[in-house]
C-alpha cells in the first residue's frame, strides 16, 4: 500500500503528534497532565498538515524506539482488578448538566460514541437510580415470592445460585432515553441523546422456575409485581405472559462476573425488550396478582402524555430504534476519504431485520451490513462504507425489526404523539457534517 501524492490534508492532527518524545515518555510513565496541556496547545493547530516531526528518514515513532520497547514493563497483578488504559479516560459515564439536580435520583449516560460491538463494559453501563445506590451485602440479601402462590417462599443468594442458570445477551434501555429530544435538539452527543442504553450478557434463573417452585396460580395471577430493596423500593408491574415465555430472568451475573452495585448487585430482574425501569435492581420481592399495581412509576412517572392531555399508562415495550455512533454529534472527522459509518440497532419486539443508512438527510438510503451476532432483544452492530468528499452531509440510520416495524422519523412520531411525551422516543437520529468535518445534532424535515 502506498500513500498517494495529493493525499488530502488532515483537518485535525492526531494528538500523539502534539507531543514531543519527552512528553510521550512522561505520559507513558503515568503522567497525564501533559495530555491536557497538549490538547490545549492543539486548540489552534488546525490544518497543520502532519504536525509531527516526520523527517526524510521517516516517522520518529518508528525510528526512535519508545520506552515500552526498551525497558522492563510492569509485573503481573500490578492491578489486581484490571482497568482500562490511562489513555481511555475520556470514555466515562457522565451526567447531562441541568437534566436533574439530585444525583441520588439521576442518570449517568453510557459513552456510546466510543464503544465497539454490542457488549457494554460493565463499568460503563448507564446508571439510573431512584433513591441512590447501595453496595448490598449479598449474604444478607433475600428474595421473597408471595401473593397468588401455594407457598410464600424465601430464597438466599446461596440457594438461587445453586439453580441451573442461563446466560443471555440483551439490551436495556431507559424508557426516557432520547426524552430530552422530543421537542427540539437539546444535547450535543450520542452519549446524551442515546446513552441510557446498554447491552450485557446476563446470567440467572428464569423467574418462571421460581414461580413454579412456589406453585404460582398462573390462571388468576396474570401480573407480577417486582420490588427492589433500595430506599425507594422501586416497584413495577410485569405481564405474566413475559414470565411464561421464559425470557424474564432473576439475574446475578453480568458479563461474566457479578452485577455491579450500580446495576443491582446482587440480584436484579431482567425483562428483555422492556424499558429499564422494569428491570428492578436489588430485587427483594416478587408478588403474583390478578391486577396491575399502578405504582408511582406507572402512574406519575413513566406515563406518556399525548396531545389531548391523556397519559398512556403501562407503556413498557421499547420499539425498534437505531443510531449512528461513529461519526456522531460532537465529533470531527480527521480526514476526507474512506469512513466506516457504524451504529447500533435494537428492538424490544425481537431481532433486527435490516438497517439502512442515508448520508443526504433521507433522500436516498443504502443497506448497512449487520454484524454477527444478531440476537433477539439485543443490540445489533451495523456498519456501512462511505467516502466523505468534504461536502456537507446529514447521516441517518433507519432500522427494521423482524415484525416488519420500521423506525419512524420525527415528523411521523410527533404527528401521533406530539412532543410532550418524554418517554419512548425512537425517532430516526440525524447527524449533520459540516465542510470542516464537524458533526452536530440536528432535527430535520
Amino acid at each position: 500500500m502506498s500513500v498517494p501524492s495529493g493525499w488530502p490534508g488532515r483537518i485535525r492532527p492526531a494528538p500523539e503528534h502534539f507531543l514531543s518524545q519527552e512528553e510521550v515518555r512522561a505520559v507513558a510513565s503515568g503522567r497525564r497532565d501533559f495530555l491536557r496541556s497538549a490538547f490545549a496547545l492543539a486548540a489552534g493547530a488546525t490544518l497543520a498538515g502532519r504536525a509531527g516531526a516526520e523527517t526524510a528518514q521517516g516517522d520518529p515513532a518508528i525510528l526512535e524506539l519508545p520506552e515500552w520497547s526498551t525497558t522492563l514493563g510492569r509485573p503481573v497483578a500490578a492491578t489486581p482488578y484490571g482497568l482500562p488504559s490511562q489513555f481511555e479516560k475520556a470514555l466515562a459515564r457522565r451526567q447531562s448538566p441541568g437534566l436533574t439536580r439530585v444525583p441520588g435520583s439521576s442518570v449517568a449516560f453510557t459513552p456510546l460514541q466510543g464503544l465497539f460491538g454490542i457488549i457494554t463494559p460493565s463499568g460503563l453501563h448507564f446508571e439510573r437510580h431512584h433513591q441512590g445506590w447501595h453496595d448490598i451485602d449479598p449474604r444478607r440479601h433475600r428474595l421473597m415470592i408471595n401473593g397468588l402462590v401455594d407457598t410464600n417462599a424465601v430464597f438466599t443468594m446461596d440457594e438461587l445460585m445453586r439453580l441451573p442458570p442461563v446466560s443471555r445477551i440483551h439490551f436495556i434501555e431507559c424508557g426516557a432515553n432520547t426524552g430530552m429530544e422530543w421537542g427540539n435538539v437539546a444535547v450535543p452527543t450520542v452519549q446524551y441523546t442515546h446513552g441510557m442504553l446498554s447491552c450485557s450478557e446476563f446470567t440467572g434463573v428464569p423467574l418462571q422456575v421460581l414461580l413454579d417452585m412456589c406453585g404460582a396460580d398462573f390462571k388468576r395471577g396474570r401480573y407480577i409485581l417486582a420490588e427492589g430493596a433500595d430506599g425507594s423500593s422501586m416497584t413495577r408491574t410485569i405481564p405474566m405472559e413475559l414470565v411464561e415465555s421464559g425470557e424474564v430472568l432473576v439475574a446475578w451475573g453480568q458479563n461474566g462476573e457479578m452485577l455491579r452495585p450500580e446495576n443491582g448487585y446482587p440480584l436484579r430482574l431482567v425483562v428483555p425488550g422492556v424499558q429499564g425501569v422494569s428491570w428492578v435492581k436489588w430485587l427483594r420481592r416478587i408478588e403474583v396478582g390478578d391486577q396491575p399495581w399502578g405504582t408511582k412509576d406507572e402512574s406519575i412517572h413513566y406515563v406518556d402524555m399525548m396531545p389531548d392531555g391523556l397519559h398512556r399508562q403501562y407503556t413498557s415495550l421499547q420499539e425498534c430504534k437505531s443510531v449512528i455512533t461513529t461519526p456522531s454529534g460532537g465529533q470531527v472527522l480527521l480526514d476526507q476519504g474512506f469512513h466506516n459509518i457504524s451504529g447500533l440497532a435494537w428492538s424490544g419486539r425481537g431481532r433486527i431485520e435490516r438497517v439502512d443508512v442515508s448520508v443526504d438527510g433521507g433522500k436516498n438510503w443504502m443497506p448497512a451490513r449487520l454484524e454477527e451476532p444478531v440476537l433477539p432483544k439485543a443490540l445489533t452492530r451495523f456498519n456501512c462504507d462511505w467516502v466523505w468528499e468534504g461536502r456537507p452531509a446529514i447521516l441517518q440510520s433507519r432500522a427494521v425489526d423482524e415484525t416488519g416495524y420500521v423506525q419512524p422519523g420525527y415528523g411521523q412520531l410527533r404527528e401521533v404523539r406530539g412532543s410532550a411525551s418524554i418517554y419512548h422516543n425512537n425517532a430516526i437520529q440525524s447527524w449533520k457534517i459540516s465542510e470542516a468535518g464537524e458533526v452536530s445534532n440536528v432535527h430535520i424535515r
Partner: protein, 354 residues
C-alpha cells in the same frame, strides 16, 4: 414443608431423560416457606383497588405538622417544591375534581406537570409515601403518619377540607375526587402482555406510528428544523475530552482556549472528587440546599471562623443535626482522614468546581 413444582420439573425430566419419580422436591433443599411475619414485613404494596391498604387514620392538621418537619425542605411548605424537586401540588381545579380530567394537561396552561395533575389513583400516593419517603429515611413513617401526610397533600390540592380525617374508609371517597382519575389510557401498543380484548391491557402490541422502507428519491428537500445554538456549544463540557485519542474521529474542542488552559493547569480538586464520589452531593448542592445546606452556604457561614476546619471535620465524621434543620446527617465513617481534610478544605474554599 415447602412444595416444589411442576412445569420446570417436567421440562427438566424430559431434557435429562431420567426416570426420577414425579416429585415436587426436584430442587431439593432450595428455598423455604416464608413466615407470616416475614411476609407482613415486606409485603407493603397498596394497589389502586386498595388491596393491601393498612388500617389507620390521620388529619390534615397532623399532616401539616409532619410536613413542616419532614417534607417541606424538599417539597416546599405548600407542595410547590423548591427549585430542585418537581412540584407535587398545583395545576388542578375544582372543575377537574368534578370531571376527573385535568384540563391544564391538554391546554398546557400550567408550567409544570405536578404529581397531583397526573396521579390517577390515591392509593398510589399512599403506597409511595409509605415505601419511599422521606427521601433520606424511607419507611420511617407510621401508617397513621402516612395517612396524615397524604391528608395534608389532598387538602393543599383542594380535594379534601381542612377538617378531613383520612382513614382506610374515607380514602375510597377521595378516589372519586382525584382530579386526574379519568386521565389515563391503556389503549396503546406498548404493553407486552395480553391485550385488553383478552383480559389484559392495551391493543395487543399494534404500533401507533408507521414508517415504510423507501430507498431512493424519498423526498425532494431537506430542511433543518432544530440544532444546538452556538451559545450552547460548551454546555456539556469539552467534548474533546469525551472522545478517544485515536481512531477515525476526535471530539470537538468546545471550550474556549482560556477555559481549556485553566482546566489543564489546575490540579484536580480532590475535595470535589470526594464530595461527588462520597455521596455528599446526594443531599448537598454546590450552591443550593437539597436536603442539607449547599456547600457554598456552609462556606459563607464558616470560612471566617477559627477552627472551622476542625469543627466541620468533626461534624461530618460524627454526624450532625439541628444546625441547618432537623434532618440528621448520618456519620460519614466511610471517608478516610485525608479525604475528609481535602473535602473540608474544598468546602471552606467556597466549593469551586472545575
Amino acid at each position: 414443608m415447602f412444595t416444589y413444582a411442576r412445569v420446570a420439573l417436567l421440562a427438566l425430566l424430559l431434557l435429562s431423560g431420567s426416570a426420577v419419580a414425579s416429585s415436587f422436591d426436584y430442587y431439593v433443599g432450595i428455598g423455604r416457606e416464608a413466615t407470616p411475619d416475614e411476609v407482613t414485613a415486606w409485603d407493603i404494596d397498596v394497589r389502586p383497588d386498595f388491596v393491601g391498604l393498612p388500617r389507620g387514620r390521620g388529619t390534615v392538621d397532623e399532616g401539616e405538622e409532619l410536613w413542616e418537619q419532614q417534607c417541606a425542605f424538599c417539597h416546599g411548605t405548600f407542595g410547590e417544591s423548591n427549585e430542585v424537586f418537581t412540584p407535587l401540588i398545583g395545576g388542578t381545579t375544582a372543575e377537574d375534581i368534578q370531571s376527573g380530567r385535568v384540563r391544564a394537561l391538554a391546554e398546557r396552561s400550567f408550567p409544570q406537570r405536578t404529581t397531583m395533575m397526573k396521579a390517577p389513583t390515591v392509593a398510589t400516593l399512599f403506597d409511595y409515601i409509605r415505601r419511599a419517603m422521606p427521601w433520606t429515611s424511607p419507611k420511617s413513617l407510621s401508617d397513621d403518619e402516612v395517612y396524615a401526610v397524604l391528608a395534608y397533600m389532598l387538602n393543599l390540592a383542594g380535594i379534601v377540607p381542612m377538617d378531613y380525617v383520612l382513614d382506610e374508609e374515607t380514602i375510597r371517597e377521595v378516589q372519586q375526587r382525584m382530579p386526574n382519575r379519568n386521565g389515563m389510557t391503556t389503549d396503546h401498543g406498548l404493553w407486552p402482555g395480553a391485550s385488553a380484548a383478552e383480559g389484559g391491557i392495551g391493543n395487543g402490541g399494534v404500533p401507533d406510528v408507521k414508517n415504510v422502507v423507501c430507498m431512493e428519491h424519498c423526498k425532494e428537500n431537506v430542511e433543518v428544523l432544530s440544532e444546538m445554538p452556538d451559545h450552547a456549544r460548551g454546555s456539556h463540557g469539552d467534548l474533546a475530552a469525551q472522545n478517544r485519542l485515536i481512531g477515525p474521529v476526535r471530539g470537538q474542542q468546545t471550550l474556549d482556549p482560556a477555559q481549556r488552559e485553566a482546566a489543564a493547569e489546575n490540579p484536580v480538586i480532590e475535595g470535589e472528587q470526594t464530595a461527588r464520589a462520597g455521596g455528599c452531593m446526594i443531599c448537598h448542592g454546590l450552591e443550593e440546599r437539597i436536603v442539607g445546606p449547599g456547600f457554598a452556604e456552609i462556606a459563607v457561614r464558616y470560612s471566617e471562623k477559627e477552627d472551622a476546619a476542625d469543627y466541620l471535620v468533626g461534624r461530618i465524621r460524627q454526624g450532625s443535626t439541628g444546625v441547618w434543620g432537623s434532618t440528621p446527617m448520618p456519620p460519614q465513617t466511610q471517608l478516610k482522614d485525608e479525604e475528609l481534610a481535602q473535602l473540608v478544605h474544598w468546602i471552606l474554599s467556597g466549593a469551586p468546581t472545575q
